[in-house]
């Protein structure tokens, strides 16, 4: 949701397809395809050296480090959320319905809603 909200705040038209894979172009985010590829390479491990070099060349070392830190951070956050049974926040359940459908989130094993 914060991707869409930050896009609205910046008057950018964000396409959420890049959240599901890196083969959809930039999606309204500068270097979005490259950054999605970096997240995938960090997750899979296989091509990370090659994609890292591309990020270094395109965005510079400081941005590469920050991209790595964000990927690291969300490898922490997913384990906190899924390890503790954290439900979706009550106020975000209805507003996120369209987004959940678009991204297929309701099919995940980790689906937990809190309708209170």
């Amino acid at each position: 949701m914060l991707l869409g909200l930050s896009g609205s705040q910046s008057n950018a038209e964000i396409e959420l397809a890049n959240v599901t894979g890196s083969d959809h172009g930039d999606g309204g985010v500068a270097k979005g395809q490259l950054l999605a590829s970096f997240a995938e390479a960090v997750h899979d491990g296989a091509d990370v050296a090659a994609v890292r070099e591309e990020v270094l060349a395109e965005l510079g070392p400081e941005s590469m480090v920050d991209a790595a830190a964000i990927c690291a951070n969300f490898n922490m956050m997913v384990r906190i959320a899924d390890g503790t049974g954290t439900p979706l926040d009550a106020g975000t359940v209805p507003p996120s319905e369209e987004l959940r459908n678009e991204l297929g989130l309701d099919d995940l094993v980790s689906r937990r809603l809190d309708a209170r």
């Binding site: 500068a30 997240a39 995938e40 480090v65 830190a69 951070n73 922490m76 956050m77 049974g85 995940l108």
Partner: protein, 229 residues
């Protein structure tokens, strides 16, 4: 100033390096419910789980011949939880959590274990992403865990007990373990967006990646891990 990444050959921000340094020091200190030796053993199991040939989610490493030492400092239920949280966090269920508790972990021990597993995976991912080796672990400090329950902590909206605090549900998740709250919030502030700017300033950035780039990386990583939240 931390010298943690001084030899990395890559410019790691001083505040980021310091947050990582403080996390390593926290692993090596007594926690809320686990000793320093036990906390470092959890980190070591995270590293072993990440390096091992991946087991299916339903196979517990403690049942695989030769994988876990019989004299391990951690109980088998803890080792199994570390591996499952590390390699298959998107498959966890309330029934799985309850089984870990039925096998002898207290809910508070489990919460602290989640905190160490999460931060250990975080630093492992960062090292691999920037192309350096895992951080060497320090010697465990002496001393006993605090072993004091958080006043008012109870099972409310999560599987685990949480303190009666306001805020987003993920911010409540580890509140039964104050050490874990300090560890994850320090890392999140240095790696992602400071909590005070999270919703208040949707264009906040560090002058490197813009906020949309930050949120794309966050969302793609969460979905790759099959995380609904």
């Amino acid at each position: 100033m931390s010298t943690l990444y001084a030899e990395a050959g890559i410019p790691v921000r001083a505040d980021l390096a310091l947050a990582h340094q403080q996390t390593v020091e926290s692993w090596a200190a007594p926690g809320d419910w686990w000793s320093a030796s036990e906390r470092l053993a959890i980190v070591n199991e995270v590293r072993r789980a990440r390096a091992a040939d991946e087991l299916p989610p339903w196979v517990r490493p403690s049942t695989v011949d030769g994988l876990i030492d019989a004299g391990h400092v951690l109980p088998a239920a803890a080792v199994d939880a570390v591996w499952r949280l590390t390699n298959h966090s998107g498959t966890l269920t309330g029934e799985w959590y309850q089984q870990a508790i039925d096998e002898g972990l207290s809910p508070e021990q489990y919460v602290e274990l989640v905190g160490v597993v999460a931060t250990a995976n975080c630093l492992e991912v960062f090292a691999a992403a920037i192309g350096i080796d895992s951080i060497p672990l320090p010697v465990p400090a002496e001393g006993e865990p605090v072993r004091q329950s958080v006043a008012g902590a109870a099972v409310r909206s999560h599987w685990v007990p949480t303190a009666d605090v306001r805020g987003p549900n993920v911010g409540k998740a580890l509140t039964a373990s104050p050490v874990s709250v300090a560890d994850w919030s320090r890392l999140s502030d240095a790696q992602y967006v400071p909590m005070e700017a999270l919703l208040a300033d949707l264009t906040w950035n560090r002058g490197t990646l813009d906020r949309m780039q930050i949120e794309l990386l966050a969302a793609r990583t969460s979905l790759l891990n099959e995380c609904f939240y």
